[in-house]
């Protein structure tokens, strides 16, 4: 595979790296808040992938505007809509996780996972 093709498709690689970083953070971090941050990084990677899939080089945002000339190239709006829904979902997951962490802190007095397992 030529190097130029890899360079053109760089958003895919960045999104994959973000995804892996997020997974790593969820699985290996001991601090619960850092785990939640890991969730957000992971979802950001996926959203970047979606946006990159929908993007067309030289396209404009898919909003109808009479001022634009005829035959202008619009980008694919569907992935953007999916990402919007995904953002709302990840927001609610984050809020729920934070609420549970607050409750855990109330029970154990710490948000450090090994400490919680020790205190159990």
């Amino acid at each position: 595979m030529e190097l130029s093709r890899l360079l053109v498709n760089y958003p895919y690689f960045i999104s994959m790296i973000l995804f892996c970083l997020g997974c790593l953070a969820i699985l290996t971090q001991h601090n619960l808040i850092k785990k939640v941050i890991g969730i957000n990084i992971m979802e950001t990677g996926i959203f970047l992938f979606f946006i990159a899939v929908g993007n067309i080089q030289g396209g404009v945002a898919p909003i109808y505007d009479p001022a634009l000339p005829e035959g202008v190239l619009y980008i694919n709006p569907l992935p953007s809509v999916l990402v919007l829904t995904g953002i709302v979902v990840s927001f609610s997951v984050t809020a729920f996780a934070l609420a549970i962490i607050v409750k855990l802190y109330y029970f154990y007095g710490t948000i450090y996972a090994p400490e919680i397992i020790r205190l159990r």
Partner: protein, 494 residues
């Protein structure tokens, strides 16, 4: 007549609407919530019975939400599998709700009860949505709603252990849905569609150009939905979450929530990718291997647990292995039996968890070693418990026997005779950890050998009894259900 066409959509929308309104009642008039939840479930049950009658007549129903036709809009599609799952979900949830009406006040703090019912209806509606949807992204949204709702059901108890288990469940299931979403993104990138049949036809055309991507997508789906379905090495969240939840919600989580993920996985494997891709990417062998591990490992772990609900939770891990074994065999017979096992296991596990809840309600006992003489103090509950555990072990006349026998036949048919040994071994292990409980309950010396009626409300006894009767019914007359499911399986495997 226009409303009859909308029925598949109303089925999900009406419970969702009721649970949108329910927070108002939970805040200001908490005592109405159980009745609202019961009403929503009964409504959904009536609608799903109507739909099942239509589907049994040989008609497949589809509805495009908001009038946007399939390639663009969300399509609701009801075939035999979806109809079966709808009946199962609504029917069993109705009885679990009936049970929780009296048992909840003892298990969760009273102010949380209204919110608990809200989450219950939300989870039910999202589960129904997952089984009937025909759109990949809608599947993802429903998966997330089920994940949040079921975490809420776990955390409702408000104790240390359940809070911690719920956080672990939330983390791992979010990881799983991340994988699921990435897999959906891959599929969208290759095919440009989100609707199952359209994706399937596109994949047939272009799939061979992207062998690595197919592999990655397949494995992402397996991991993403496998974490949620508690396939063996990814089951670590399950025992904590299911054992520390209030008993009605552990019944629902163990009996139904895990199953709808399996159904979604089945749909993606066989409707979107097709059996050939499933076979050629070696995903089939991976599934078979993990299923074999689950059958042995789940039973072995269950064997050493002393807490009754923990033991039941590990037993769920083993039974998930049976279902995946049926899929992995890849024959019509194997998948049919696996689908039947989804139904039978739902009945068995709900019966077991509800009886564990009833035992806790009357005596406050949780350990398996404290069951002596219970067969005389709570005859109805322990009779149901005995029926369900005999069925788990695989004694003839009960539902579990049909699926064990069927899976053994299926693995012989598919030239995999080792699985027969595994099934027998797992059945023996099941016997080893269920029989001591029953033996203790009935035959301990020194206990008073006099029958008393259970001191448990009737609304808690009826669901337990009906679940046990369902197990017996499945064991004697599985034919009609199998014929009904065969129509679904034949459509996608031939």
């Amino acid at each position: 007549m226009q409303y009859l066409e909308m029925l598949p959509f109303l089925l999900i929308l009406l419970p969702l609407c009721i649970c949108f309104v329910m927070p108002m009642f939970a805040r200001w008039k908490s005592e109405v919530c159980p009745y609202l939840a019961l009403g929503a479930t009964v409504l959904a049950l009536i609608m799903s019975v109507m739909l099942t009658v239509q589907v049994a007549g040989g008609e497949l129903l589809s509805y495009a939400a908001g009038g946007w036709l399939p390639p663009w809009g969300i399509e609701i599609f009801i075939d035999e599998l979806a109809a079966m799952m709808l009946l199962l979900l609504c029917g069993t949830c109705l009885f679990v709700l009936l049970f929780s009406y009296r048992s909840l006040p003892k298990e969760i703090p009273p102010p949380a009860a209204g919110w608990y019912y809200t989450l219950f209806v939300l989870t039910l509606a999202a589960m129904m949505g997952m089984t009937v949807t025909n759109d990949l992204f809608n599947l993802y949204v429903m998966v997330e709603i089920v994940a949040i709702g079921s975490c809420g059901l776990v955390v409702a108890k408000g104790e240390r252990l359940s809070t911690e288990a719920s956080l672990r469940y939330l983390m791992l299931s979010t990881l799983g849905s991340g994988f699921l979403l990435f897999a959906i993104a891959f599929l969208y990138q290759v095919t440009g569609n989100l609707n199952y049949p359209y994706v399937a036809t596109e994949l047939l055309r272009v799939g061979e150009d992207y062998p690595f991507l197919m592999w990655a997508t397949m494995s992402f789906f397996t991991v993403g939905l496998g974490v949620k379905a508690a396939l063996f090495p990814m089951h670590i969240w399950l025992p904590d979450a299911h054992s520390s939840a209030p008993s009605p919600s552990s019944a629902v989580l163990s009996g139904l929530v895990v199953k709808v993920y399996i159904v979604a996985q089945l749909r993606i494997y066989f409707e979107v990718f097709g059996f050939d891709v499933f076979h050629e990417t070696y995903m089939r062998y991976l599934i078979l291997f993990l299923a074999a591990l689950a059958m042995l490992g789940g039973s072995l772990f269950a064997f050493v647990q002393l807490d009754l609900k923990r033991r039941l939770a590990y037993s769920t891990v083993a039974q998930i292995g049976y279902i995946f074994l049926g899929f992995g065999l890849g024959t019509v017979w194997g998948i049919k039996i696996a689908l039947l096992h989804i139904i039978i296991h739902a009945f068995m596990k709900i019966c077991l968890f509800l009886s564990a809840g009833a035992v806790y309600y009357q005596t406050g006992r949780k350990k398996v070693t404290h069951f002596s003489g219970l067969g005389y103090q709570m005859p109805v509950t322990m009779a149901a418990f005995t029926i369900a555990s005999l069925s788990m072990v695989g004694i003839p006349l009960f539902g579990g026997f049909i699926t064990k026998y069927g899976l053994a036949l299926g693995s012989l048919e598919a030239d995999n005779p080792y699985f027969v040994v595994l099934i027998v071994l797992s059945g023996l292990l099941n016997a080893a950890y269920y029989f001591p409980i029953i033996w203790q309950a009935y035959f301990t010396s020194g206990a008073e050998m006099k029958f008393f009626m259970d001191k448990v409300p009737v609304t808690m006894l009826i669901p337990i009894a009906i679940m046990a009767l369902g197990v017996i019914y499945m064991g004697i007359f599985p034919g009609s259900i199998l014929e009904f499911l065969e129509r679904y399986v034949l459509r996608y495997l031939l």
